[in-house]
Amino acid sequence: MSSETAMDLRELYQDIILDHGRHPRNFHALEHPTHLARGHNPLCGDRVTIYLAVEGERIADVSFEGRGCAISTAAASLMTEVLKGKTVAEARALFAQFHARVTGGEAGEPPEALQDDIERLEPLTGVKAFPVRVKCATLPWHAFEAALKTGLAGDTVKTE
């Protein structure tokens, strides 16, 4: 393997990704969710279910279940960590920032209050150099957004 190849791969599979991929946090169903949605990537068969417990405007608890690659599992795991305790508006702003960072889009100046969380999600931005893997990182977020929209109706979002 050339050193360049090794470097590219280490950009994608940073230690924090490998750690969350192997030992996902908040990896369970919620007993009394207020919202849930499923994400499905037909290309690779990945499936993820996002559970939310929203109290008023605040996301009191968030968790996930499913099977997927290291990227999608780590993305879901890190997402649950940063979303816990956020308001719905903050969570949406965070998704917009994250989406722009992994796809190379524009999201404008991030709010000061979200700076730490954006940094926390930074390791996932390595997918930018791997266009076919971007969907792995965004799948749990799309499922989260669908959950906010549909409540307990159990919507499924597909990446294709």
């Binding site: 791969l9 068969g45 690659c69």
Partner: protein, 418 residues
């Protein structure tokens, strides 16, 4: 057994078979010198003779077919029909009217399902498929079953990956009208005993359709010896252009089938209240066909013949054995069983690593493989797998490619399992 299924004479060595020399016939490897291409089962790369031949056809002989009275149109028609004759000879069909040009195997199967199906099947009839079928040899039959009320019956492969002939025989009844099976599994590489399947099916009066996508590019196929009623394949997996494919059907079967798509080129006489249709194969070729595609497919079959199908089968069989041996010695690699007669296709998983992650690391090593469910979700469900990493071979592959694959797999282990 393997030799008889493959019709390869073990005594005849693959004289002069040189994958490195053949690779030079494929411009993609000049553009990408480091490429290890192990995804020919999805689509094969194209030899120069096909790429240049299509361009030359457009430059020199092109016009619409079966229409013009001018000489250029006649020449184009000759090239198109010459390609049909090449396909006939390649499959050893009895008559070139048994060769229908279509867009690919998917379209060929849909043609049979939508033309032959409703004309001959009724509620309670049975269609038997195997449990290793590609979605394209499953979903059209599901749709047909919903439409006419017939039943889809699934014949199993056993734990070793081998097609279970005894179980298959037990599933056949007097209501079985069609058996639709693959010649070689696109996931496990299992070679199915088609001749025996045909004998058993015909014994019950059922017709047999064979999906030859994986077999045609890599072993001799003789539809008369197999005895099947329909045989389909895609041109692009056989070193030919995309958008081409073939439906072979016994003439009697095709002649008794109603048209599928209708339009120009497939009619004898059109009145405002009644239309008479052409005989096969033109009955099933409505509209202007992919003329240059058919010419390109003919050139691809010429290429395969020039290398020699027995030589290709022997080379790929030996290389499959090498790959199985090499991969099975890597810790954490779990090979999916492919039976005793595996050819050119093998699937594996790296324990604890998702196939998608394996695919990305392999790609960084310039090793191209397919990852995922390979359009065979029911088989993945049966195996309890989310997906696999699939290696499939072509004439340009050699042991060095498998060694590069092994090195890349070791890099995956280093990254994910250290």
């Amino acid at each position: 057994m393997a030799a008889s299924l493959l019709r390869v004479d073990k005594q005849a060595p693959a004289r002069g078979f040189d994958p490195r020399a053949l690779r030079r016939e494929f411009p993609i490897f000049t553009t990408h010198p480091g490429l290890v291409f192990l995804d020919s089962g999805a689509s094969a790369q194209k030899p120069r003779s096909v790429i240049d031949g299509i361009a030359e056809f457009y430059r020199s002989d092109y016009a619409n077919v079966h229409r013009g009275v001018y000489s250029l149109s006649a020449r184009s028609t000759d090239r198109f029909e010459e390609a049909r004759e090449k396909v006939r000879a390649f499959l050893n069909a009895a008559d070139e009217r048994e060769i229908v040009f279509v867009r690919g195997a998917t379209e060929a199967i849909n043609l049979v399902a939508q033309s032959w199906g409703p004309a001959y099947l009724k509620a309670g009839d049975k269609i038997v498929i195997s449990d290793v079928e590609h979605h394209s040899n499953l979903v059209p039959w599901q749709m047909l079953c919903e439409r006419v009320g017939c039943l889809l019956v699934v014949a199993p492969t056993d734990a070793t990956g081998e097609f279970d002939l005894a179980a298959f025989e037990a599933l056949l009844t007097s209501r079985t009208r069609l058996v639709a099976v693959t010649h070689i599994s696109n996931v496990t590489g299992t070679l199915l005993p088609i001749e025996r399947i045909v004998q058993l099916a015909h014994g019950k009066g059922a017709k047999v359709l064979v999906d030859g996508c994986q077999a045609v590019p890599r072993m001799p196929v003789d539809v008369q010896a197999l005895g099947c009623d329909f045989y389909v394949f895609s041109g692009h997996k056989a070193y030919g252009p995309t958008g081409t494919g073939v439906l072979y059907g016994r003439y009697g079967a095709l002649a008794a089938m109603p048209p599928w798509q209708t339009g120009g080129g497939m009619i004898l006489h059109v009145g405002l209240d009644h239309t008479e249709f052409q005989d096969p194969p033109h009955r099933f070729e409505a509209g202007t066909p992919d003329i240059a595609g058919a010419v390109g497919l003919g050139l691809a079959l010429d290429f395969i013949e020039s290398v020699g199908r027995e030589a290709i089968a022997e080379h790929e069989q030996a290389l499959t054995g090498y790959a199985v041996d090499r991969l099975s010695r890597i810790p954490d690699v779990q090979l999916v069983a492919g039976g005793q007669h595996r050819l050119s296709v093998l699937s594996f998983n790296l324990d604890g690593v998702h196939p998608h992650d394996v695919g990305t690391v392999l790609d960084q090593h310039h090793v191209a493989v397919r990852v995922g469910n390979h359009c065979a979700q029911p088989l993945m469900d049966k195996l309890g797998l989310a997906g696999t990493v699939r290696v499939s071979l072509g004439v340009y592959n050699d042991e060095a490619d498998i060694d590069r694959l092994a090195v890349a797999i070791e890099a995956c282990r280093e990254m994910f399992l250290r």
